[in-house]
Structure formats: C-alpha cells, structure tokens
Amino acid sequence: MIDFSKLDKTIHEKARLSIMTLLATRPAWAFQDLKAELAMSDGNLITHLRVLHEAGLVAVTKEVLDRPQTSYSLTAKGKTAFQEYLAVLEQIVRATQG
C-alpha cells in the first residue's frame, strides 16, 4: 500500500524538487551555482528557497569571504523528506508496472 501522505507537497512542485535534488548532491550550494544550474531567475529561485526554508527543509548560511555569499544546504529534516519522497515515487512506478 502506497503511503501518499509521505509525498511531501512542498517538495512535489517541480522547481522545488529540482532545488532539493541539487542540494542532495553536495554539502552546500552557493546561490549563484544553484541559479546557473537551474537556469532560474533570482526572484523565482529566492521564492522557492524561502518556501523550503520556512518548511524547515533547507538551511541558509550567509558569510563574507572575498564577497558576500549565501549558501543553502539540506537540513536533517530535508534529507529525510527527500528520501521518503523518492521512496514513494519508486513505489508508485513499481506498483503500476506490468
């Protein structure tokens, strides 16, 4: 039986799913790197990152190296939510195979 309650609605939106996927590949992503990889506008990316941050899935780090930089990473809750989301998708594909 597929538990659709584990299909996190915040992650399910395609742009946010893309952000979560990239964040799952590295310890942290700089804003500019995310923007370049996803080819999203500043405003669009900031809006989706804010939603993910407010849901507790993404952590934000602001630091000043040679210039101000904002980095994003998955929180422990975000990692778990992403893994559960993947598991549900796989279950749906498996359940409807054949």
């Binding site: 395609k14 590949t25 310890p27 796989e90």
Partner: protein, 201 residues
C-alpha cells in the same frame, strides 16, 4: 495522488539533475583568464622579437597556468565544502592525462618542421585532452576541445599541403603566433563565455 507517468517524469528530473551535478569543470573561468592572458602576453612578446626561447617560455606559461588553475579549483572545492581531489577530478585526470602526456612528449622530439609543428601538435593534444573529458564536462569545455582540435587540424593541413610549414619564415616567431592565436585567444574566449555573473540575493 499522482499517477505512474507523473512519478516517472519526476524521477527522470531527479536523475538528470543528479547527473548534471556530477559534471566536473576542470578549467574554471578565472583559470582560463590567467592561461589566456599569459599566453597572449608571451605570444605578443615573441612576435615583437623579444629574446624568449620557445620551449622555456611556453613551459613557463604551462607552470604558471597549472599552479593558478589548481589553486582556483582548490578554492572552489573549499567554497562548496568538497574535497579537492574529488571523484570528479580523478575521472577528469584519468581521461585527460594521455593527451597531456602526448603533448609533453612531442615537445622534446627533434622536429624537422621546427617549432611551428611542435606548437601545432600542442594545440592538437590540448584539444584531444579537453574532448576526452567531454562525457562529464560542461559544454564549454567540449567547445574548447573542438576549437583547439579544429584549429590544429587546419594548421596541420595547411602546413603539410600548402605552405610546407611556412618555409622561409622564422619558426620561433611563427610558433609564438600559433600559440597566442589558438591557446591564448581560445582560453580568453572560454573565460568570457563562462565567467560567473553577479547578483546575490
């Protein structure tokens, strides 16, 4: 509730993004700017008749650009919280090494056609190295490989069948010109096309 098609589409997006995220950029834009600038400066000096030996001059450029590129890759890895010698770097080195070694070997082979042939073969091997990384490199590096390879192929064809290696011309000056116009300008073009755009939130 979502159906199988939608689930498959989302899994495809996830897979494709994860593959893209493993792309390894062996040459950063600032690294290319250093390489291209050093090459153009040396080539210009050589073309203006400065007494710079071809081999020592270009091995110097190689050393400076190699150190600068490694430093920039290290800094980039630090910024992303990754290890410097990552799996991506190891794969890139394994792929690019044969081309780099080939370029190194031809440097010391006595060439009947002089330094212009050595310069052309360096450009050819540089192209082969970049193209060898094309399976996991960003598109810009594939293009860098293509333009190096294409330019070297044209120079080889022209030198062999048309100009007989520009007989009568000063080979060292010609070689400096070839390196500046190909390696130098191509790297500057790469830096211009891939330079990160500003705009933090």
């Amino acid at each position: 509730m979502i159906d199988r098609t939608e689930a498959e589409e989302h899994l495809r997006v996830i897979r494709s993004l994860m593959e893209k995220a493993t792309v390894y950029r062996a040459v950063s834009a600032p690294g290319a700017l250093v390489s291209g600038s050093c090459a153009v400066v040396l080539a210009t000096a050589g073309l203006m008749g400065a007494p710079i030996g071809f081999l020592p001059g270009w091995l110097g450029v190689l050393a400076v650009t190699g150190v600068a590129n490694l430093f920039l890759l290290w800094r980039d890895a630090q910024r992303r919280g990754e290890v410097f010698v990552s799996a991506g770097m190891r794969v890139a080195l394994r792929a690019m090494l044969p081309g780099l070694i080939g370029g190194g070997l031809v440097s010391f082979v006595p060439s009947p056609a002089g330094e212009a042939l050595i310069a052309t073969l360096w450009v050819l091997f540089a192209g082969i190295s970049f193209l060898a990384a094309s399976h996991f490199a960003p598109k810009a590096i594939c293009w860098l490989g293509r333009v190096h390879f294409g330019a070297a192929a044209l120079l080889l064809a022209h030198g062999t069948f048309v100009s007989h290696w520009w007989a009568g011309m000063n080979q060292v000056t010609l070689a400096h010109g070839i390196m500046g116009a190909t390696f130098g300008l191509f790297h500057l073009g790469y830096a211009a096309c891939t330079w990160p755009r500003r705009g933090e939130p």
